[in-house]
Symmetry: C2
Subunit: 324 residues, 2 copies
Amino acid sequence: MSTLTATAVAHPNIAFIKYWGNRDDALRIPSNGSISMNLESLATQTRVTFDSHLPEDIFDLNGTRQSGPALKRVVSHLNLIRGIRGTAIHAHILSENNFPTGSGIASSASAFAALTLAVTTALGLQVGEKDLTRIARRGSGSACRSIPAGFVEWNAGETDRDSFAFSIAAADFWDLTDCIAIVEAAQKKVSSTEGHSLAGTSPLQEARVQDAPRRLDMCRNAIQTRDFAALASILELDSTMMHAVMMTSTPPVFYWEPATLNIVKAVAAWRKSGIPAAASIDAGPNVHIICETRAAENVAQRLSSLPAVKEVLVSKAGGPTVLK
Amino acid sequence: MSTLTATAVAHPNIAFIKYWGNRDDALRIPSNGSISMNLESLATQTRVTFDSHLPEDIFDLNGTRQSGPALKRVVSHLNLIRGIRGTAIHAHILSENNFPTGSGIASSASAFAALTLAVTTALGLQVGEKDLTRIARRGSGSACRSIPAGFVEWNAGETDRDSFAFSIAAADFWDLTDCIAIVEAAQKKVSSTEGHSLAGTSPLQEARVQDAPRRLDMCRNAIQTRDFAALASILELDSTMMHAVMMTSTPPVFYWEPATLNIVKAVAAWRKSGIPAAASIDAGPNVHIICETRAAENVAQRLSSLPAVKEVLVSKAGGPTVLK
């Protein structure tokens, strides 16, 4: 072989039941299961070209050659898949996000989902969806949830074999939209990987993990019965529980900014007035407002009028990671 | 007897380890022990006059005749103490706070501490400090901590008999100051009494309660060894843990405002730069910044310059509830 190439497209996902803390940091076996929705409008497209003449791996992201930790993490993932295939050939990775770099939208999920499908395909590996999710998980935990379609559950599992993701409903099963209120474009101060390793220092993490099966059941049922009020309650509770753990870790991690809280309170008031919308916050200050699509335009407009909101990104539920 | 009178003065207190949730709501037996510091500069002065000609109890607070729930709560407390004394005589209560009414400073602790000492004294009851704290507790849980001097611990206990407060250090044992950043004068949306009854609905409350002995030990040790860094860590953690429970109750209770979070983050940054100050938040949006007194003027000035801060109240550690 001299050159082998493949291109894949993946979407980031927003977790309704969050992933925070690992049973095994190295293998990214999570402490609790999680449920998410892929985001159709946001995408990472990644082309992988293996070339026997390359002396080392090259990683270009949004037109910029990468080095340091970003390159290292991609090379580690390449090594994992090269190990499965039994090859040492180097690759050129060309990756583009269609959403603003540094907007605070986590790109590692879509990045490692697209990378996993592109690399396994380019190397000619026959990998089913379940095993793709397991491989993607090793690159970035939440990447496993970007592999299957629509609404996805990640079975926590206890070992590498049983920690995988699967679709619980197609993207068009329930017409939901995520309006993402961007409040700050600055880099995160504490990376997710670092944060996960702190979760166990919170006196509240064990209770959060123990209670997770109950929350997963409530969320799964809410999706399967398209019960927005039930979804709203459980996704807001779960988001707050994750941030409670973060803020009570040693050292404490406050991802919330004053603007974050301002939006959370506004959304709660809107829902009281009858608008089907609920707020969820990932490891950053931005707020994801999950709403029934019929309310999305109204919600996006209201968000835009809040002084603390710089930009609103809007996305419906999205499909699986696919080859292009 | 025809008229019997007594006047008492009590201080509010700021809890370093918070009281949130009851084992018994009616008797106000708390789910966990707590530790606080009395606030010298803030005071409630209460004069009680029992008069056999009065057809009913009268309660004047800051010059305004009270009725409804405020009167009812005071009458209940009078009934408790009248029951101990075996009398049905009515009283005129005249109470004044020297701090802004509606500033968001909890006045129920100093109110029921002063009321308890004035009423028991006017009725000629010989009650020791420990039993005074038990009676005050029945009016408002945290009032028991305003009876003893300085730095006070409330032993949670399991029954009315063993749920009492005691001083662990005199006010002058450690030169600490509370700078209270007032961010909103509006009435609380959820009263403390109502909030306590919601604590058990949070999936995190049990973990918070189970971990309380550890936090109490750390706080008590920090006070006894005058270790500000240790006190800062544990009081900020404990405050955040209480708010984590509040925000994950059903329904959720968010006492934090955007301004609250702004101050908390500012204080954390100041401490990193070497200023001995730490933030604690009660059941409201205001922030108590506990600092070594040598830093108090600097802290108060910095707080005043934050746009969200309306007013800063400053107080050193205070003495016990006393007769006047």
